[in-house]
């Protein structure tokens, strides 16, 4: 119970800064879902098709927010996830990695398709209307803000956490973008080893 409360407190804090927050131990599988944190959503994938989180029910997922013009943190996040998946090995084959763009103006499905295709690890890129993105980000307590630059090359400060979602679609843990891949792998392994 204490652990669950601590996790929730940490979760509430991420509205202003999730990157510094990390839940070190998995929430016990007996823990009830927290509907106010995470949950299902519908967006558009890189093939311009609707994607619902429910569509991957039965498969665990890593999810992170970012944008394709993010020069450093987003590629680093993806490389951490890719390394963790390799460390888990064949058991990680069904695991899905989701990239939710917070920059729907620039990140059209076509741009996302080019972006996700540039990674060696399979990745699903997701976009939507600004309202839809805002709703999904709010559900995961992920903050983002545009940094005006006066040019088309604006930056976006955004929550850089990596979210781990279990096979039932429940948010289970979150980590810093530069988390040690061994930690990510251990958490994923624990989720994959849970009985369905």
């Amino acid at each position: 119970m204490t652990r669950r409360l601590a996790a929730l407190a940490c979760g509430l804090g991420i509205a202003v800064g999730l990157a510094a927050c990390r839940q070190d131990a998995p929430v016990p599988s007996a823990a009830p879902p927290r509907p106010s944190f995470g949950g299902d959503f519908t967006l558009i994938n890189q093939d311009n098709q609707p994607f619902r989180l429910q569509d991957i029910r039965g498969r665990a997922a890593f999810l992170f927010f970012g944008y394709t013009s993010c020069p450093d943190m987003c590629p680093v996040t993806m490389s951490r996830i890719a390394t963790a998946l390799r460390r888990v090995g064949p058991a990680a084959a069904p695991v899905v990695t989701l990239f939710v763009s917070v920059d729907p103006r620039r990140d059209t499905p076509a741009v996302l398709k080019e972006y996700v295709g540039s990674f060696s690890t399979p990745l699903i890129g997701l976009t939507g209307s600004e309202d839809e993105i805002r709703r999904v980000a709010a559900a995961y307590h992920a903050a983002y803000e545009f940094v005006p630059s006066g040019t088309p090359n604006y930056l976006i400060n955004h929550t850089s956490a990596i979210f781990l979602i279990d096979r039932e679609g429940r948010l289970r843990q979150y980590f810093k973008f530069d988390e040690n891949p061994n930690t990510l792998a251990a958490a994923l392994d624990a989720v994959l080893n849970e009985s369905k």
Partner: protein, 143 residues
């Protein structure tokens, strides 16, 4: 033989050493659609005085800025750096997830395996040119 080796070592030690060296330079790949990259390298300052990197020009890109990653009340954000100090007889490394070169408006796609010329200007008016290898989007090092 031992005497020869000692003489050789002494001769090597007496050779003039470059005052500044740039190592392990690399940039991330781009495409016709994705026109933002990032660059990384290590600067070795062999002189007895601190220096600062104040400008980087990247061939094939219109703009390059030094950025660092900072924690802002628990949120990770990027901040521009006007200069990057390198201590006397010390080194500074630009690395993923930390201080890096943000490269925007890439006009000629950086293809994996190709090289891109970086020109670094320091506050003591020295410049260095280095060929950065283009690495995949999810790379974490030059190799």
């Amino acid at each position: 033989m031992t005497g020869l080796a000692a003489s050789l070592a002494l001769a090597l030690a007496l050779l003039p050493q470059p005052s500044l060296e740039i190592h392990d330079a690399w940039v991330r790949q781009t495409s016709s659609v994705l026109t933002v990259s990032s660059g990384y390298f290590r600067i070795d300052n062999h002189t007895a005085a601190p220096i600062a990197l104040i400008r980087v020009v990247v061939d094939g890109a219109r703009n390059a800025e030094l950025h660092t990653v900072v924690d802002d009340n628990g949120r990770t954000i990027m901040k521009p750096l006007a200069r990057l100090s390198v201590p006397a007889r010390g080194s500074v490394t630009l690395a993923p997830g930390a201080t890096h070169l943000m490269v925007t408006d890439v006009t000629r796609p950086f293809r994996v395996g190709a090289h891109v010329r970086l020109t670094l200007t320091f506050d003591n008016h020295q410049t260095r040119t280095v060929q950065a290898i283009v690495r995949p989007l999810d790379a974490v090092s030059a190799k």
